[in-house]
């Protein structure tokens, strides 16, 4: 129960806390911003009746770096690495969204080979992101072992990234117009080897958790949200799909080379934490499917479109969105014809999804708040930007 230095109300809250400790009346406690289960610096003020949650308020912004303001002071190419720092566990997705948005604005199209490389890396990144989510989510609920398994396997993905572009986390793998790097020697073999390696590992995670009684009891019926509420709250990604809405940007408005591949969108029914878990697990398998097809069908050819040295898009604006691991990641870019974007707006999935926390935990218990924060799969770097 730490206090944020910027809070103006915390002292009052704590006093009230003491006063009402014995009655079963309302009780306000503060979780975070330094708390192991908030996945970063998220502060949640909980209004409780005993252990039951009456309402929540999220205090965010502890990690705000003003990415959108930075964009206005950088050229299009210079801003590219900054987007990696938003959702740092899925940096490649961020880069893909940004590059494609600028490409649309420039009216150029990345060559097919570049698109295939993009798909492979983005899907690998989705796997890595889901693995990190699974490990930390399970850890929050008390299962420590999956964390090590997922990190072991995520390591293999990061090794491929490192071999491809030299960076593991904030990769800056794509450039406007395509990819800067041709695949290294043995890239395809590495990816194929990884596919063979990781498929049984996903079964292993499932073995540990899917039928584990305690896991089911901790997650089933927890943090329920209906598809209608999801749409009203703008929640996207696995959370939306777990609530039964069959929608994925990759299918609805295909980008990169996604229209070439045969894959399914896993959909849940109940919209609870358990379904979200199942949906993400199924999504990992679908990602493997996409990667397998992409590696097999990858065409030869150039990897960079003809893009002017100095990127000066014509006056205009564009909204482009992709399916990031967390949900719909959108870029709204306004160009005034100069070398610097006039305005870049990022539509961060974590930020919008986090809003649903209040709806999801109302009437649940305090321990469920932790489970729900985990299941929302937020990255505070993206929430705060």
């Amino acid at each position: 129960m730490t206090d944020g230095s910027t809070s103006t109300t915390s002292h009052l809250e704590l006093e009230e806390h003491d006063k009402t400790f014995l009655d079963s009346n309302e009780l306000i406690i503060n979780m975070g911003p330094q708390h192991p289960a908030t996945h970063g610096v998220l502060r949640v003020i909980l209004k409780l009746d005993g252990e039951k949650v009456l309402g929540t308020e999220c205090v965010i912004g502890y990690l705000h770096r003003g990415v959108e303001k930075i964009a206005e002071n950088r050229t299009y190419a210079m801003f590219n690495p900054y987007v990696d720092r938003m959702d740092y566990v899925a940096a490649i997705s961020n880069g893909l969204g940004y590059c494609e948005a600028v490409e649309k604005l420039l009216n150029v199209e990345a060559p097919p080979r570049a698109n295939y490389i993009r798909v492979i890396l983005t899907e690998l990144n989705r796997l890595a992101s889901h693995m990190l989510w699974l490990g930390t989510h399970a850890l929050d609920i008390g299962a420590i072992t999956p964390l090590f398994y997922t990190f072991r396997d995520r390591e293999e993905i990061l090794k491929i990234f490192e071999k491809y572009c030299g960076a593991r986390l904030t990769t800056h793998a794509f450039r406007i117009g395509g990819c800067l790097y041709e695949t290294y020697e043995g890239f395809e073999q590495d990816v194929k080897k990884f596919l063979v390696f990781v498929a049984p590992k996903i079964d292993e995670y499932e073995e540990l958790l899917t039928t584990n009684r305690i896991w089911v009891e901790r997650t089933k019926g927890v943090g329920k949200i209906s598809g209608k509420d999801c749409i009203a709250l703008g929640v996207t990604g696995p959370v939306l799909r777990a609530s039964g809405v069959h929608w994925d940007v990759r299918k609805a408005q295909p980008y990169a080379a996604y229209s070439d591949f045969d894959f399914e969108i896993p959909v849940g029914q109940n919209g609870d934490t358990y379904d979200r878990y199942l949906v993400r697990m199924a999504e990992m398998r679908q990602s493997l499917r996409i990667i397998r097809q992409a590696v097999e069908k990858i065409p030869e050819g150039p990897i960079m479109a003809k893009v002017p040295k100095v990127i000066k898009p014509p006056v205009g604006e564009i909204y482009h969105s992709i399916e990031a691991p967390k949900g719909e990641l959108g870029y709204f870019i306004v160009s005034d014809g100069s070398t610097q974007p006039y305005r870049v707006r990022v539509r961060p999935p974590s930020f919008v999804n986090l809003q649903a926390l209040d709806v999801m935990v109302r009437g649940q218990l305090v321990a469920d708040v932790i489970a729900v924060i985990g299941t929302l799969d937020i990255v505070l770097g993206e929430v705060d930007r």
Partner: protein
């Protein structure tokens, strides 16, 4: 087998029990009082052991020291103790208290003095230690069955009453 009921242990345990009792009423901090009460209860358990009643001693520890006192502490800890520490310990009722204690003391002495004359000295019969628990069982379930069941019924009523009072809506 050497007897454990040596005077040394008797005086030690009684001393501890008395010390605990005095601490219970003199400590301002309720938690300290409760802890002193636990000391008293444990000393009493030791005294039971000396009377060759190990079962009673064991039950004393489990129920009183381990069960009831934990619940006591539970409640005390949730109550703010700052206020009670500032309060005057000896209020105006101390005269009444002294009178009650005096009457009790006189009664105790009278029973002690007269009782010896009234009742014959009990034969110092050491029960067979290995059968102690079994004997308790036989007494409870054979001879005092009715009283035992009535007591359990009473407790059941008390439990239901407590639940009804504690719960806001049933």
């Amino acid at each position: 087998m050497t007897p454990i009921a040596t005077p040394f242990f008797f005086y030690l345990l009684s001393g501890l029990a008395l010390l605990g009792g005095i601490l219970v009423i003199t400590r301002k901090n309720a938690v300290h009082s409760a802890l002193a009460l636990i000391l008293t209860l444990l000393a009493l358990a030791g005294l039971y052991l000396m009377l060759y009643a190990p079962f009673v001693a064991g039950v004393q520890i489990i129920l009183y020291a381990g069960g009831i006192m934990v619940l006591f502490l539970f409640v005390i800890m949730l109550v703010s103790i700052e206020r009670s520490q500032k309060e005057e310990q000896f209020n105006k009722q101390w005269i009444v208290g002294f009178i009650a204690a005096g009457v009790l003391g006189v009664l105790f002495v009278l029973v002690y003095v007269k009782g010896r004359a009234l009742l014959p000295a009990p034969a110092a019969q050491i029960p067979n230690e290995s059968q102690n628990t079994q004997n308790v069982g036989v007494l409870l379930y054979r001879e005092y069955m009715f009283a035992f069941e009535i007591a359990s019924l009473l407790l059941l009523v008390a439990i239901i009453g407590a639940v009804v009072m504690a719960k806001k809506r049933i």
